[in-house]
């Protein structure tokens, strides 16, 4: 039986790990390579590095970071943020990343998903969706949650997978940073709509939230940041609690 993956997310800004509370009030939480290596030893199943400023500052993607991470960390990892072209995807994979996460670029140029899937395989194409509740349901937002694309989040997820996405990284902008639990309705709506794994993101505060994301939200993996970076809990203790609740973990 495949294990449910527990994935620390390292939001990167200026080469350092930060975790925004609802994406404002950024706070420094350490060196990405050290932290990644620490999480790897602690039992993280994968790692995600997102350059959260890349999209609106037009900067180059986190290729250099991927190089540094790959020298020290021997578990799969994903990089995202500012990756807009097939060449950039190739560079990231050559740098040692196992997957790339596409967000704004995939919305602006959906063909990027299919080109990447065709060239490098669906398994390395993650489409990240930042969803927020609006009067018309869950919409996809870009630019750190500041711009409403008016696209329906569930429909976009299904379309991304149709184009070749191998995985959906789904963040609830409403839940993100609250530590009140994942958005289970959103997670379930997307997970039930696509045949590929969905990584639940945003709102993790304690172990029971992770269990809920899997059991009720139908997530295949859970992403966390703040509660780990702050030392509120550890991956091992979260996994022990998940296992005790019957969720298979490594």
């Amino acid at each position: 039986m495949r294990s449910i993956r527990v994935i620390p997310c390292l939001d990167i800004r200026d080469g350092r790990v930060v975790k925004g509370v609802n994406f404002v009030g950024l706070r420094d939480a350490g060196d990405p390579v050290q932290l990644a290596s620490f999480y790897g030893r602690e039992g993280a199943d994968e790692l995600v590095f997102l350059d959260i400023t890349a999209s609106h500052e037009g900067r180059a993607p986190v290729i250099a970071l991927a190089e540094r991470v790959a020298e020290q960390v021997f578990i799969p990892f994903t990089v995202g943020g500012g990756i807009r072209t097939v060449d950039a995807i190739r560079d990231a994979l050559l740098a040692g990343a196992d997957k790339v996460s596409l967000n704004t670029a995939a919305i602006q140029h959906p063909e990027l998903i299919s080109e990447a899937a065709e060239k490098f395989g669906s398994q390395c194409v993650v489409v990240a969706i930042d969803a927020k509740m609006t009067c018309e349901g869950w919409h996809v937002f870009t630019h750190g949650g500041r711009r409403d694309t008016m696209m329906d989040a569930v429909e976009w997820a299904a379309e991304a997978v149709r184009l070749g996405a191998g995985e959906i990284l789904l963040t609830s902008m409403d839940a993100d940073g609250t530590r009140d639990g994942y958005n289970l309705l959103l997670t379930r709506a997307v997970a039930d709509a696509v045949p590929v794994p969905v990584i639940a993101s945003g709102g993790a505060g304690k172990a029971s939230h992770l269990v809920d994301a899997v059991v009720e939200g139908h997530a295949d993996a859970v992403l966390l940041a703040g509660i780990l970076h702050d030392g509120v809990t550890t991956i091992r203790s979260l996994k022990d609690a998940m296992a005790a609740s019957g969720v298979p973990v490594r």
């Binding site: 294990s3 993956r5 199943d45 578990i75 050559l94 490594r250």
Partner: protein, 191 residues
Amino acid sequence: MGNLRSVERAVAHLGFTAVVQDHLGGATRLIIPGVGAFGAAMAQLEPRVSEIRAFARDGHPLLGICLGQQLLFGASDEGARETPGLGLLAGRVRYFPADLGVKVPHVGWNSLQFRADSRFGAGFPQGGQVYFVHSLYTECEDQADVAATCEHGIEFAAAVERGNVWGAQFHPEKSGDLGLALLRNFLEFNP
């Protein structure tokens, strides 16, 4: 794709030197990594096939990783045209059947059961988990070649081992400390 560099870095991390080259000159042991398609990979290896076969026949340690394990076999169901593999091990590479009720590709961590006398799996804790990304698996003609099994809808050869010829269907270079320990077993293996 990035697999080649990842293997190189993992080997370096273990204190050994890996050299990426398109020939076997000076090599004492060989790792064939690989992400991609069987036919395309064999086309690339084509000029070196007899050299690789001789290398293996001479008893040098050889490890195929992921697609690299599949290339050790004679043939594959992948691709429209039948392309012969290296043929160092007897068997065929097959797709996971569609009716298993499991997701294909098989991506993620899964547990291994190594054969007790496997040199590749020496020291590996039974049920320990490693990282997989694949859609095809190798069907061994000789069950004695199966070093470790894994279950994904069906039981398949997660690792193979025949004398000096080893294969890993998973990615030891991406499987954390357990994966690195298996890679070390290969690097320190003397037939």
